[in-house]
Amino acid sequence: MISVLLNTLLAAGLYATMAYGLAIIYGVMRIINLAHAGVMMLGAYAAYALFSRFGLDPFVGLVVVAPLFFVFGVLMYAAVGRRIAGAGATPSIESLLVLFGVWLVLQNFAYVVWTGDTQSILTGYTMKSIKVAGVRLGVPSVLVFLASVGSLIFLNVLLKRTYLGKAIRAVTQNRDAALLSGVNAGRISAIAFGLGSAFAGIAGAMLATLMAFTPDFGRSFLLKAFCIIVLGGMESVTGVALGALVLAALENGLAAYTSVPTSLQDAVSFALLFIALVAFPQGLPSLFARFERRAAIR
């Protein structure tokens, strides 16, 4: 039981980091960024390249990966994002497909540079594990969790305590009002893209320490990220964390308590995504809010 809880927690941290990159771009620009999968994949390869070329430990390398991908994100915005910012309430199909195209291009880029062979990062501690509360946990998993928590704390501080963060939150909640208050939409969007890519990049880099990867590998994680945002709502960090927790709990619970084979677990996540989209499009937090209000009326 403890083992399931701890594994869930570890997984949730990574998932939240992965999902937040998607959420921030959606929140600010109302665009669903399918290229997110490609950026995560590149993050994995970036960590791999830093490790195999320079011997840089992948976790230390996060310090390099994050700003690198921030810049990459801003460039992507300048090239493509600017033209497709969603004006309306729902994101447009065109933006979805353009970013899809970007994802394909990124995939091909990776194929060309690194070939389609499976790669992995093997450090001195990859195979080691430590004991926490009587449960054996892999060292990389624990480090990933710590790095995730760190990045999410950074994000929280950024959003709550800085002017930039306030601007981002304002645009997310009400774009027009924010613009009228003097927020520079272009700049905020570029930064959102940068932040989103940075988070995708580090999520990918962290994933690289946990598993082998090919240029194709972003897709199932992208779907998990969507699942999380839909479950958790796109408005808040806590919402995303909640969604991540639910998904991780479901996966680990299934693995531990049922005989559903691991290969079918992905199917479960996708089914969950589907159900979540249909049953609560506003995310779980809104469900709770509805209960609160009903109680208040009585």
Binding site: L96, G101, N108
Partner: protein, 306 residues
């Protein structure tokens, strides 16, 4: 449609149907592939182009058609039964998925379809009944290229005719209204869910029959080959590049993508670049000419006439 255009389509159909008389196997294979692409693109266009609901999960229907035919052929069922049965199953499945999924608008629907198609692929790879990830093989002596070729061409013609008929009918107008403003459509009595389900089912059935024919022609299928996400992707790419929502668009798109694929594969240096090309095309089309080549053609036509 203008007389000249109509004659052109007729000539093309006649050419395709009589091709086995004078073409070698190689080019015939290319035509077969083209017909397959035309069916998929035109069928997808019914829901994706006319009604504006972009599904990235059509590989599911190819797979359903393929697996139905193979599994039942292994029990000695006749293709004349397995193909329509595959179509029926695909249509029913499309309704089951559509009922909840069509409550979603725009891109959310698209994401849901990706999820569903992936779930099916993963399930088919795991479950015993479908042969797991190693796939299934058709029984021996079911292969007949000529018969299959004619069936494929015939289906392509039928699909395009159906698309043309739908576009001009009341059904097609309803779909167009749904695409442009779904709430306004409902405000004048269009039951949008019913029409979306109908378009989805019709296109799923057509795609499934093509999938069944594919299985018979290639004699071997696996989840990786028929449920592949990249297949879903090319199905969407073709009508979009060619001109989504038109009749000629998916056909042009199929032509462009098939030709590209052949050309790219034949030049060793470019063999791995098809993702670049697909991705690049998608980006360029969406940013600069969302109406695809047909739209580009119309624009040029207006410039020329002005």
């Amino acid at each position: 449609m203008k007389i000249a255009a109509r004659l052109l389509w007729l000539a093309a159909a006649i050419f395709a149907l009589t091709a086995p008389l004078f073409l070698e196997r190689g080019p015939l294979n290319d035509l077969w592939n083209l017909a397959f692409a035309v069916i998929l693109a035109s069928a997808w266009n019914l829901l994706g182009g006319f009604a504006g609901q972009v599904s990235l999960g059509y590989s599911a229907f190819i797979g359903i058609g393929a697996y139905t035919t193979v599994l039942l052929s292994l029990k000695d069922w006749n293709p004349f039964v397995t193909l329509p049965l595959g179509a029926l199953i695909a249509a029913i499945f499309s309704v089951i998925i559509g009922l909840p999924a069509f409550r979603l608008r725009g891109p959310y629907f698209t994401i849901a379809t990706i999820g569903v198609a992936e779930a099916i692929r993963v399930t088919a790879s795991t479950v015993e009944f479908t042969g797991g990830s190693s796939g299934l093989r058709m029984p021996a002596d079911t292969f007949d290229f000529n018969a299959n070729y004619f069936a494929m061409i015939g289906l392509a013609v039928v699909t395009v005719v159906i698309a043309a008929w739908v576009k001009r009918s009341a059904f097609g107008r309803a779909l167009a209204a749904i695409r442009q403003d779904i709430e306004a459509a409902e405000a004048v009595g269009v039951n949008s869910t019913r029409f979306k389900l109908a378009a989805h089912a019709l296109s799923a059935a057509l795609v499934a029959i093509a999938g069944g024919l594919y299985a018979i022609n290639f004699q071997y299928i696996s989840p990786a080959s028929v449920f592949d996400f990249r297949l879903s992707l090319s199905i969407v790419l073709m009508p979009i590049i060619g001109g989504v929502g038109t009749i000629a668009g998916p056909i042009f798109g199929a032509l462009i993508v098939s030709t590209l694929q052949i050309k790219l594969l034949s030049i060793p240096a470019l063999r791995d670049s098809f993702l670049f090309v697909y991705g690049g095309l998608l980006i360029v089309v969406m940013l600069f000419e969302p109406q695809g080549f047909v739209g580009l053609g119309r624009r040029i036509g207006r410039l020329v006439h002005a």
